[in-house]
């Protein structure tokens, strides 16, 4: 009986392990809050949402934020593999207006007809980029509609989902 107890103790201590054991990553609280300034832009990296900074005040309006998004990734971002789902060739042609409660619209031009339509991920990028601008103005946000200037065809409405549906496949 005593021998069995001693064996159990030995096994327990062996299982518990000695020294410093390697671990899986474990949570250690919220990330640090660094005093960075700038405008947040929603791009893509490896198919996932990826937020970056642009110089400018946080008070920047929705229209100007949209201009930054249509301008595409910077060279540094491009080199680092950061991309966007918004095709090149889009240009804002009017202000961001609130059509009805929380529903915004913006008119855009396309350089030519070969520029493709916006897909769901591009719409998500637009919605998330516009969101801080309109919230700053004190409005609620219930999606944004993109109006193609030439045809008057409307795309959307798009909403800023917490996580853009993954396309990691």
């Amino acid at each position: 009986m005593r021998r069995r107890l001693a064996a159990v103790l030995l096994v327990v201590s062996a299982v518990a392990g000695c020294g410093i054991t390697p671990t899986e990553p474990f949570l250690y609280g919220l990330p640090p809050r660094s005093p960075v300034t700038g405008v947040q832009l929603h791009l893509l990296f490896g198919g996932d949402a990826f937020e970056v900074l642009r110089p400018g005040p946080d008070s920047l309006g929705a229209a100007e934020r949209l201009d930054l998004l249509f301008a595409g990734p910077t060279e540094a971002e491009f080199l680092a593999g950061v991309g966007t789902a918004v095709p090149a060739g889009y240009r804002r042609a009017g202000p961001v207006v609130e059509r009805e409660a929380g529903r915004f619209a913006v008119v855009v031009d396309r350089e030519d007809d070969r520029v493709p339509d916006l897909d769901a991920r591009a719409g998500g990028q637009i919605a998330c980029t516009v969101l801080p601008g309109v919230q700053r103005a004190g409005s609620t946000f219930d999606g944004v509609v993109v109006v193609l200037g030439a045809s008057g065809r409307e795309l959307g409405p798009y909403r800023c989902e917490p996580v853009i549906p993954p396309s990691r496949r």
Partner: protein
């Protein structure tokens, strides 16, 4: 393997103390290890957090050069999307992929411990998030060597082992004290039991305390007291009955003397017919009764311990011849009597022994009866052998008992029934031995061994 009580107690106490010490040591080891590691990780994360929450010169996505600057500034690996820069003492390859994946996915501060080349490290990683808006896309990873912590943890089992070793000493002392407390009364009981076995029935042991061992000692004392009383009572009864026999024998002697005188007178009268037959019968029975009473008196002397030995130098061969001649057996007994030299014997008692053995052989065995004398430097041996059927196996152990009858049907024999018992007592008085057995060719054989010298 069987261990004594002392060793078993010692082993048990040692095992208890070692296992307790090991359990306590293991528990405190795990606790202290976690404390040491938590303290190191807390410090590391606090410093990392404090460094990152100071001013950050960043308001745009960093170029590679800017990323390198960030890495040096924070002494950390800086990662921006696919771009990365190594910091002071840590390279991108040192950061496990699972840590990077989880930091990117969960957007929290995360810690992971790893072992690189046998050295323990703790890594902390976090996204560089703004205090107003969310992510900047930059992640920072810092690494700390846990060598000092490893040394501190490695020292813990040594202190636990020291603790166990220190606890062994009092455990051994306690075990020995406990063993002594148990063993002392046990040892006393053992020596007491041995004294009782040696016949000292007055043995009593001191019974102190109220534990089980004291109970045992009291039971032991009660047992010996009871035994002593019983034995004394038995002795008294035995003594009384022997004295009764002695008294009766003595009381019978006087009337027997008178009766013997009368029967002798009757024998001298010239009686005829039935009267002569009756007178002869009375005379015979009276003589037998007289012999029986003499034997009883003799044996009661042995019982009373008053039978004395009067040794003198005796040539045993001559004594045998004299005994046979005195009883008229010279013609019916064959003898083989080499000269054995003188021995220290009581002439009268050896004569009684020889007469009883030869008489017994003549009465119960068959002729011829032989008497053979042998000798060694220390003893002389007389063998009396008859030519009868010999002694049955169930008879031999009892032939020296008083009034023992081998043949239950033959209630009246010519002997008194005490002859062999008296012979046995006489031989014993000489310090010799008397054995009953059978000769190789059949026939009972009685062997008398007598020491040559009184010791």
């Amino acid at each position: 393997m069987r261990l004594g009580l002392r060793a078993r107690l010692l082993v048990a106490f040692t095992l208890v103390s070692v296992s307790t010490g090991a359990a306590v040591g293991a528990a405190s080891y795990l606790r202290e290890r976690d404390m040491v590691l938590s303290a190191a990780q807390d410090t590391m994360v606090e410093r990392f957090r404090a460094d990152l929450e100071r001013e950050v010169p960043l308001d745009h996505s960093p170029t590679h050069a800017e990323l390198v600057e960030l890495a040096w500034r924070y002494r950390a690996v800086a990662v921006f999307a696919n771009d990365h820069a190594s910091g002071n003492g840590i390279s991108f390859a040192d950061v496990p992929k699972e840590l990077r994946d989880q930091v990117r996915e969960r957007r929290r501060t995360l810690v992971q411990r790893v072992e690189v080349n046998g050295q323990p490290y703790a890594l902390v990683g976090a996204p560089l998030d703004g205090d107003v808006r969310g992510s900047t896309g930059v992640e920072l990873y810092r690494r700390q060597h846990l060598g000092a912590q490893q040394d501190a943890i490695a020292a813990l089992p040594r202190s636990a082992a020291l603790l166990v070793l220190l606890s062994l000493l009092p455990a051994a002392v306690l075990a020995l004290l406990a063993a002594r407390g148990v063993l002392r009364p046990v040892r006393a009981l053992r020596s007491g039991a041995r004294r009782v076995a040696d016949g000292h029935l007055d043995t009593r042991l001191p019974a102190g305390g109220s534990d089980e061992l004291a109970d045992l000692v009291r039971t032991f004392n009660a047992m010996t007291a009871e035994l002593e009383g019983t034995v004394a009572e038995l002795r008294r009864v035995d003594e009384r009955s022997r004295r009764f026999v002695a008294d009766v024998s003595h009381e019978l002697r006087t009337p027997l003397t008178a009766m013997t005188a009368v029967t002798e007178a009757l024998d001298d009268e010239a009686l005829t017919g039935d009267a002569a037959t009756a007178a002869g019968m009375v005379s015979t029975e009276t003589r037998k009764l007289g012999a029986l009473v003499e034997d009883l008196i003799e044996i009661s002397r042995f019982d009373a311990g008053v039978a004395g030995l009067r040794p003198e130098p005796v040539e045993l061969g001559a004594l045998v011849v004299a005994t046979l001649a005195a009883r008229g057996w010279t013609d019916v007994v064959r003898v083989d009597l080499p000269s054995v030299g003188p021995s220290e014997l009581d002439r009268r008692r050896v004569d009684v022994v020889l007469a009883n053995l030869v008489g017994n052989a003549l009465r119960h065995g068959a002729e011829p009866v032989t008497v053979v004398l042998r000798s060694s430097p220390d003893e002389v041996v007389v063998e009396v052998t008859d030519s009868g059927p010999g002694l049955a196996d169930e008879v031999s152990p009892h032939v020296f008992e008083r009034f023992y009858k081998a043949d239950a049907a033959r209630l009246r024999s010519e002997g008194s029934g005490l002859g062999l018992a008296i012979a046995w007592e006489n031989v014993r008085l000489h310090g010799g031995s008397l054995e009953a057995g059978n000769a190789p060719g059949g026939g009972a054989r009685f062997t008398v061994r007598l020491p040559r010298r009184r010791s």
